[in-house]
């Protein structure tokens, strides 16, 4: 039964190939069947595999499909590795992925490039599956690059608009910076430990390296660099809000549920390395905490519905990084799982709203949709509740676990996490109140159909009840250090509980009842500056532009006439001149040819005489 593991990434890849070569000749229903169906088959396979895995002793299972690179010390097979962690990720990618594909079948129905869309989506899913199943870091890197490619292709899907192309390019280049760091980390690991197979790599690292030594710190820092790029954390987070230029299902799949969580997965997979490098692990937590606050603040003032959700994603992944940083590995993965559910739900519901208004994104142009779009309303409520971690939603359980673990390590980190929860409450319910309450400003132009309804319903159920899932991650991760209840245990729990609710209340006062007015708030001294700061994501784009991009462009402009190319052009020019010279001798005149023969004779005799 476990042999079927190999088929899980291959079937979406086959789907991609079929759609690439035959997509133009297929009809839209056929394309949808192949595109969504391939992921569906993988989902069924994962369900079967998971069922069998969970019943047994849950020891890791390895499957090798063949060898890829064999060179001296280096042996890289196409190997897959199934344990509780990869099973969790598989479930997220295929399960949520399939629901999103189903949704996309209707959402993208009017698009002319239907086949291209599903081909790219299948390619992406195949690459992501390779990433989570890889048993060695090189194959993981292959999947890593594959999802980067898929992300680029899908963000710039509507390439006819140049802005989309720029957004896609920005995403690709920024994640590339992280990828380079990851590649350097791979080189370092191989040079020092002579293997890239993950289980043996972790074993050797643990036996050969001492905690806090230079080598594990450098290696872990490089891997962190890679994770930061892919997961849009500080300092490489500016690409994610712009990536919202892609279609909504793409945002849901790639930039909420799967690709951006690849960084979290990577750190979790190599957790042994991070445990050997406490400063780096501390850096992970710090990056997570700072990012979640920055992104939360930015989300407070956005007006584009998808940008709010994008900043929310950056913030929630900050929570996962925080969890990884304090050693709560299982909590981080649990939050990854629940986040996949509610964030995908939120994006798909936002898509339903956008779909009904023919691609309107500004939340202040919508209003009072509570009555006219009940399904979207309830989806948003459930999703936002889970996002805010209101009691008894799935998000509550996972975020609570993270914050309690953070308290053990550092009160400051816990404080940041609570503040972040407060801000999360404010911006997510600001969104809900503005869009769904108040007076209706527009009529709906399109109703959503069954294929968009089913995923919304299923994801709502998962977002509510997902907290009940018990994933046996203790087979993968070491348990968290003994929970010390300590003096203020109850107080801590109450504050952690209350912060989001307080946030919801504040949002309600501003946007639901109108007791306070956001417009008045902005007119307070200094508030306008803060508003600008938050709106542009803390000015990082401007900083990068001034510090990195402008000098680069200036340098590039120096070589505008391309000195190197001139050299090659010069060779061609010389060749042309020689050609012109020699073809001038072909005059076609007899007397000229006879003269040249006489000249040749003279030269030959002269040579004979002189030598």
């Amino acid at each position: 039964m476990f042999d079927l593991l190999g088929w899980v990434p291959i079937i979406p890849l086959l789907g991609f190939l079929i759609l690439v070569f035959y997509g133009r000749r297929l009809s839209k229903p056929e394309i949808a069947w192949i595109g969504a169906g391939s992921v569906g088959i993988s989902t069924v396979l994962v369900a079967l595999l998971g069922f069998e895995f969970l019943q047994g002793p849950m020891s890791p299972y390895r499957l090798t499909l063949g060898s890829w690179i064999v060179s001296g010390d280096l042996s890289i097979p196409f190997g897959f590795y199934l344990d509780a962690l990869s099973l969790t990720m598989l479930f997220v990618v295929t399960g949520v992925g399939f629901l999103i594909h189903l949704y996309a079948a209707e959402f993208m129905e009017t698009d002319a490039c239907y086949a291209r869309f599903f081909a790219y989506m299948n390619l992406f899913v195949a690459a992501m599956l390779v990433l989570v199943l890889a048993d060695n870091l090189v194959l993981l890197y292959l999947g890593w690059e594959g999802v980067g490619l898929g992300s680029y292709l899908l963000i710039g899907f509507w390439y006819q608009n140049p802005a989309n192309g720029y957004a896609a390019r920005k995403a690709f280049v920024m994640t590339r910076i992280g990828d380079t760091a990851l590649a350097l980390g791979l080189f370092l690991l191989f040079t020092e430990l002579h293997t890239l197979d993950i289980p043996s790599l972790m074993g050797r690292a643990q036996s050969q390296w001492t905690t806090g030594a230079v080598l594990p710190i450098v290696a872990a820092a490089l891997i962190l660099g890679g994770a930061v790029g892919k997961s849009a954390q500080l300092p490489l987070q500016t690409w994610l809000p712009d990536a919202m230029a892609g279609p909504t299902p793409v945002s849901a799949l790639i930039h909420a549920a799967t690709m951006v969580t690849a960084g979290v997965y990577l750190i979790a997979r190599t957790h042994v390395l991070f445990m050997l490098a406490p400063p780096v692990q501390g850096a992970v937590a710090l990056i997570g905490a700072v990012t979640l606050l920055m992104a939360g603040c930015s989300g407070l003032v956005q007006t584009d519905i998808k940008r709010i959700l994008a900043y929310s994603t950056i913030s929630q992944i900050g929570y996962m990084f925080l969890a990884l940083g304090v050693g709560a590995w299982s909590a981080a993965i649990f939050h990854l799982l629940t986040h996949a559910f509610f964030k995908a739900l939120l994006f798909l519901a936002a898509g339903a709203v956008i779909f009904s208004f023919h691609h309107e994104h500004d939340i202040f142009k919508m209003g009072g949709l509570r009555k006219s779009m009940p399904l979207a309303y309830w989806s948003f409520m459930i999703g936002s509740a889970a996002l805010t971690a209101l009691p008894f939603t799935s998000g509550f359980y996972s975020k609570h676990e993270i914050l309690l673990a953070a308290y053990e390590t550092s009160h400051i980190l816990w404080g940041a996490g609570c503040l972040g929860a407060l801000i999360t409450g404010i911006y997510s319910f600001r969104l809900v109140f503005v869009v769904f309450f108040g007076k209706p400003t527009r009529e709906i132009e399109k109703k959503i159909g069954g294929r968009m309804t089913i995923p919304l319903v299923l994801l709502s159920v998962l977002a509510l009840c997902g907290g009940l899932l018990q994933i046996p991650l203790d087979t993968v991760f070491p348990a968290l250090s003994e929970q010390n209840p300590g003096q203020n245990a109850t107080l801590v729990s109450i504050i952690t509980l209350a912060a989001p609710i307080l946030g919801v209340a504040i949002a309600g006062l501003f946007y639901l009842t109108g007791t306070f007015s956001a417009a008045n708030f902005v007119n307070l001294p200094g508030a306008r500056l803060l508003n600008r700061l938050f709106l542009t994501g803390w000015g990082l784009d401007a900083i990068y532009g001034a510090v990195l991009i402008r000098p680069f462009k200036t340098l590039a402009a120096l070589n505008k006439n391309d000195a190197v190319d001139k050299l090659y052009l010069g060779i061609a020019w010389l060749s042309r001149q020689l050609h012109r010279l020699t073809s001038a001798t072909q005059t076609g005149r007899i007397r000229w040819y006879a003269s040249s023969m006489a000249f040749g004779t003279v030269v030959v005799i002269a040579i004979g005489l002189l030598s």
């Binding site: 003269s595 006489a598 000249f599 004779t601 003279v602 005799i605 002269a606 005489l609």
Partner: protein, 172 residues
């Protein structure tokens, strides 16, 4: 005696050749050419090659020059084309070839002078030549006759279509 005759005849030959290459009237040039050939025939005689001298006069100055005469007459060269020839003979046209030829002649001079001295004057009679032709050089004779046959066929073929073609074919 022969030496003086040789010098006189070679002067005539050279003079005739120079005149030939500078004439504007083609018929005049032809006549000078015949003179040159006859002078060379005399030189052959002075060298003791009687058979060759006879051949030179009969075939070269006889048959081949007659061919030239016919063609010149057919193409109306001669009196009618003097102006054209004058236009074609610019000083610039002469200079380059003359220089080249002068250098070539200098080289030949150097080679010949380096070769040392020898006497000529051994008479080779016609019978000797005939014996050699029917002896060792038999194949050469056959080849020469094939060459002549080729020339015959070629000339016939090249001469024919003039009568058939009413107008020239258009240029490609």
């Amino acid at each position: 005696m022969t030496l003086i005759l040789f010098y006189v005849t070679s002067a005539v030959a050279v003079f005739a050749t120079i005149m030939m290459i500078t004439r504007l009237n083609a018929v005049h040039g032809l006549l000078y050419l015949i003179l040159s050939l006859l002078a060379v025939g005399v030189i052959f005689f002075l060298l003791g090659a009687y058979f060759a001298a006879v051949l030179e006069v009969i075939i070269y100055a006889g048959a081949i020059m007659v061919l030239f005469v016919f063609v010149i007459m057919m193409l109306n060269q001669g009196h009618k084309t003097i102006a054209q020839e004058r236009a074609w003979l610019e000083p610039g046209t002469w200079l380059g070839p003359s220089l080249l030829a002068l250098i070539l002649f200098t080289e030949m001079l150097v080679v010949i002078v380096q070769g040392g001295s020898a006497e000529t004057g051994h008479v080779v009679s016609a019978s000797q030549v005939g014996m050699a032709l029917y002896g060792p050089y038999l194949i050469a004779v056959e080849l020469a006759s094939i060459l002549l046959l080729t020339g015959l066929v070629g000339a016939y073929h090249l001469g024919k279509p003039i009568l058939k073609m009413a107008k020239p074919r258009s240029e490609p």
